[in-house]
Amino acid sequence: MPGNPLPDAESLLASLTDRMRPAVGPTTGLVGIYTGGVWLAERLHAALGLKLPLGTLDVSFYRDDFSRKGLRRNVKSSDIPFDIDGCDVIIVDDVLYTGRTIRAAMNELFDYGRPERIRLAALVDRGGRELPIAADFVGAEIAIAAGESIELKRDTAGRLALELTQEQVTKEQGQG
């Protein structure tokens, strides 16, 4: 996209895939967080040739801002189609920001069982953490202003792109 100050999402995904390749094995279970994280996890799952089927999480029921913002519309169904007990889980999200989404995702995962280990892969780390959470695999670190946010988009052909937007307080919005 002309004038897009952000790096190309496809090449970030390629380098993220390379970083993860040596770290996955037969007990690795990939879990994508809706919506962007699921797109990425689908691509990573195919590229890494993982054996366990892909898991998806919608963390709406575990968010810490429910009492302020209420329930988001269009809640998706979480689906973990493998046994979490003893599994080597990698959570996949598009943009790592405050860490609150990841906190919620970990809490939800533990309601499915006791994983052996949980790691985190994010396409973009924009800093601004509010919890002691760090990613194990990152596509790129990008610094942007507090009022802005980075969104992952997917076009009809399945190509991924990053978009810089002004943050707005809506129920559709994720919490980073």
Binding site: D58, S60, F61, Y62, F66, S67, K69, G70, L71, R73, N74, V75, K76, S77, S78, D79, N107, E108, F110, D111, Y112, G113
Partner: protein, 319 residues
């Protein structure tokens, strides 16, 4: 008043604040509830069947009329949302000491209630309560008189959507005691809002309300006629305890003409589904072979009912 005066269930942003009736609820709100319930169905199949959404909230089951089944489903739903649940069977406590409904509610509000689930024999009682509670308290109608039973109507819609998909292609029959049924009214409103093109009501004249055709439905006195080629058969319970005076000659006679038997069901489409809100009167409105048969979705209705109540409570608590 910050609630919409034309529809006191909605706040000024058009979001659900109380659930009192399915009448007047926009299709968007109905779909939001059904979609959210779908996510909760997944939760109830996990090892830990609980999410922390309503942690620290107090849900009061206020049952002025006995109903073990409905109270239990609300209780399970609230507990699976991590709420604290307090069950009150009012007909045997303060009401017998002469305390009014509003006094009871005021007292419970002073105990920091967040939500009231109300069942009452008088139509409109949940509206009265909703009008008088503090703005941060939510009220759910769990059945009021002959008027409305919105969560039952919603779980029926969820069940139909689960098995049949698109409402706009369906022919639905509602059979039995329409006159005394709050379920039938909720079903008719929801089906109409969701775009169901053909709703039939089937029953004896004495059990049909005088204004039934005003609801936009087709009326059939003959069950065999009415069941022809329908996709969905929604049976109602014969409300023995609500029947004053001789509206029916006998339960046996009712079964003969309006009981759902295998040979009557054969007139519907071969893949038609059969719903019943429970508890069933076997051999009165439904034959056991149908109730336990392949086309019956009566037990899945119960399972979906918990997810629907979780969806309603979590949407209300967040608005």
């Amino acid at each position: 008043m910050w609630l919409d005066p034309a529809n006191p269930q909605l706040n000024k942003n058009g979001e659900l604040h109380h659930l009192l009736s399915l009448e007047g609820l926009p299709a968007g709100v109905l779909r939001q509830i059904l979609d959210t319930a779908e996510s909760f169905v997944g939760v109830t199949q996990r090892e830990v069947k609980k999410v922390p959404l309503l942690r620290g909230k107090a849900v009061f089951n206020l049952f002025f009329e006995a109903s073990t089944r409905t109270r239990t489903t609300f209780e399970i739903a609230a507990k699976r949302l991590s709420a604290d649940v307090i069950n009150l069977a009012i007909n045997v406590s303060s009401q017998s000491k002469g305390e009014t409904v509003l006094d009871t509610v005021a007292n419970l509000s002073a105990m920091q209630a967040d939500m009231f689930i109300v069942r009452h024999a008088a139509s409109g009682a949940p509206y009265l309560i909703a009008k008088h509670v503090a703005p941060d308290i939510h009220v759910v109608n769990a059945g009021d008189g002959r008027h409305s039973h919105p969560t039952q109507g919603l779980l029926d819609m969820y069940t139909i959507r689960h098995y049949k998909g698109d409402f706009t292609k369906l022919r639905v029959a509602i059979v039995g005691d329409i006159l005394h049924s709050r379920v039938a009214r909720s079903q008719i409103h929801a089906l109409t809002t969701l775009g169901c093109p053909e709703i039939r009501v089937i029953g004896p004249k004495t059990l049909l309300p005088a204004d039934v055709d005003r609801l936009g439905v087709q009326v059939y006195g003959d069950m065999r006629e009415g069941l022809k080629d329908v996709d969905v058969v929604m049976m109602l319970r014969l409300q023995n305890e609500r029947m004053n005076g001789a509206l029916l000659p006998s339960a046996q006679e009712f079964y003969k003409y309006y009981g759902l038997t295998e040979d009557k069901l054969a007139l519907a489409k071969p893949d038609a589904i059969v719903l019943h809100p429970g508890p069933m009167n076997r051999g009165v409105e439904i034959d056991s072979s149908v109730a336990d048969g392949k086309q019956s979705v009566i037990l899945p209705q119960v399972t979906f009912g918990i997810a629907i109540r979780m969806a309603v409570m979590s949407i209300l608590a967040g608005n």
